[in-house]
Symmetry: C2
Subunit: 356 residues, 2 copies
DNA sequence: TATTCGTGCTTAAACGTTTAATCAGAGCAT
DNA sequence: ATGCTCTGATTAAACGTTTAAGCACGAATA
């Protein structure tokens, strides 16, 4: 910067003003400065700016477990939204216990992030951490900033299944202590309506007695009259799908299987999974926007108190709708009494197709 | 910091020296400074330090496509290794074309990262970017710093299949232009040995004619005598597995299916996938270590030229072995002539189990 | 006794910005 | 002519560290 100033015979301050458009600089000079800047390949030192202004232009992203298959979607969306707003994203993995989460937040704080988006570990309540925080969890979590409307997604799926004619469905979740999963299950039940019989299976519970990775006994459930298995995540859905297929139960001719999240494999398995997708791009945009609103001094507030808010930030729309994606794993249930045990049907089965 | 200095009646410089152990400070004073520092809850401003020293303590992580299911493993390992070394990790998604990758690198550079680890987009050669760079790709890529030994992984899997008695196997890859996939396939062929007949299917090619997500026609292949399907990624393996199951072909009684990478679902599908895992933790450790070696001034080099290297960095061990994980999707092929088309077997099939 | 040296600390500059305060000059009204 | 205001620029301080250089003092050396 001082090089530009020297080359043009002006002061460094003037160059700064010219480039930022802040002070009073003549239009011609601004042009000359711009030209010289790009000529010299000037790149401002974000570090120095950070030191002076106290803002680093970096946001933190705290994830409960980076290994979660949903993470790529989140990270990608957040990174994109942040980059568009001119911010960088520092990641922090709060894998492990809650202490790790606190420690991860601390590390980000030390690094001077201007704000952070946290998708909290189950059962965590994010306290005031000393910088603006956007929480992405579920609308029913207190302190939530913005998230997919999981309940709504569940109810869409529930209606889909009910309309196909299913009357006895098994809801499959992982952990009963997850807010997100409970919301989805609540939505499913509501969408299915009162005349549909449903039961809920929590995988963690069955694994607690039968061991991790144990069979879920879904074939028995099918024989017991369940015609649809609505998992609350695609991973569980995949587990259900393969277990049923392996037992020779045709999906979707005999039973339907549905998931949640539209993870990468949902579209490539056979039959492709009917699921419901969250609009991470919108969620990320809203979260980042809310964060930035808290970070950057409001345009023209009359009161001089431009205190940067230091707590949880809110979004005007805090729940974004989910989108039902109907693929091949759902169909109307058989009307006949004996479920078909073998499924040699090739591909792309149409609804109601029966192969006995 | 100046607060500490004032409280103790010494200069700020002395405090700095005391805390960093650099200058000449009496031991008692060091203790007093330490005590006062923690008493006042002093946290050094990394920003100011960065400005002064020119090092930000931040590393960049450039990924070809954050949505890649393998990404969580990589990001988690890198983040962990970096955090242990006292560095933060800034992510950059080079989704899209090669230009996006260049631009992502540029953004990181502007932010003043001390170095970056890049897992390059296919066919990209990373030029000198102006800071130390660790490339994670495959040993056969020029410029590679450290990576899993994909070829070795393939050969382990090949041997496994050959030992089970498979004599005709189909190798399934996604894109023929991927170095990683080619290495894996090369290893597979070597591991299978000369007396095993094998054929390679590139999914991108069949999708180019039959449309994205089309059936792969694996059942026909099975009827044509292939007894094993060795995919070069778990995603393809999953696709193969479900397609075969759907067609009523029993895995592993009739045909075996194998994958690569040990992605999250590999263990939960039925039958659980035999695959080969890369040791991302070790890879990340080596990459970060090599990077840091280039960044931080070598302990006691005699020559004063402590120029920070600005090109690709190397690791003393640049290929880390992969680990074969045998689960339920592989078994000895049937000796009989007619492949079993239905597979009502419950779970945990043992090798060679036949159900006709 | 005069010189050198080592020790423990201080001074001051520097990193590259931003920004409040100041200033010189021009135009204009008094 | 004098004072006022507006404009376009400059000066200087500040952000919080690090680090080279300097300084005072006592101890060891000549």
């Amino acid at each position: 910067m001082s090089a530009i100033a020297a080359a043009l015979g002006v002061s460094a301050a003037t160059v700064s003003n010219a480039l930022s458009g802040k002070g009073r600089v003549s239009p011609e000079l601004i042009e000359k400065v711009r030209a010289k800047a790009s000529e010299l390949g000037y790149v401002p030192s974000l570090t120095a700016r950070a030191l002076r202004t106290g803002r680093t232009g970096v946001l933190g992203l705290v994830l409960p477990d980076i290994a979660n298959p949903l993470f790529p979607q989140i990270a990608q969306a957040i990174e994109n939204a942040a980059a568009n707003a001119g911010y960088g994203v520092l990641i922090a993995d709060s894998r492990g216990d809650i202490a790790a989460q606190t420690e991860a937040i601390g590390r980000l704080l030390e690094r001077g992030v201007d704000g952070m988006v946290i998708v909290p570990r189950r059962g965590t309540r994010i306290a005031d951490v000393g910088c603006p925080v956007a929480v992405i969890d579920t609308p029913s979590t207190p302190g939530n900033t913005v998230s997919a409307d999981h309940w709504d997604g569940g109810s869409q799926m529930g209606r889909h299944l009910a309309e196909l004619g299913h009357r006895k469905v098994l809801l499959i979740g992982t952990s009963a202590s997850s807010n997100v999963q409970n919301d989805r299950i609540g939505g499913l039940k509501a969408g299915l309506g009162a005349q549909v019989e449903c039961d809920t299976m929590w995988i963690e519970k069955v694994e607690a007695v039968s061991g991790e990775g144990c069979p879920l006994g879904l074939a028995d459930k099918a024989r017991a009259g369940f015609t649809a298995f609505a998992a609350v995540s695609d991973l569980s859905a995949l587990r259900a799908l393969t277990e049923l297929q392996r037992a020779g139960i045709g999906v979707p001719e005999t039973v339907s299987v549905t998931g949640f999240d539209d993870l990468i494999w949902s579209a490539v398995v056979t039959p492709a999974l009917t699921t419901v997708r969250m609009d991470m791009a919108t969620i990320a945009d809203l979260a980042i926007a809310a964060l930035i609103r808290a970070i950057e001094p409001e345009g023209e507030t009359e009161n001089g108190a431009e205190e940067v808010s230091t707590g949880n930030v809110t979004s005007e729309t805090d729940r974004v709708p989910m989108q039902l994606i109907v693929r091949q794993s759902t169909a109307a249930p058989q009307t006949g009494r004996t479920p078909n045990l073998h499924a040699p049907t090739p591909n792309k089965p149409t609804a109601g197709e029966i192969t006995s």
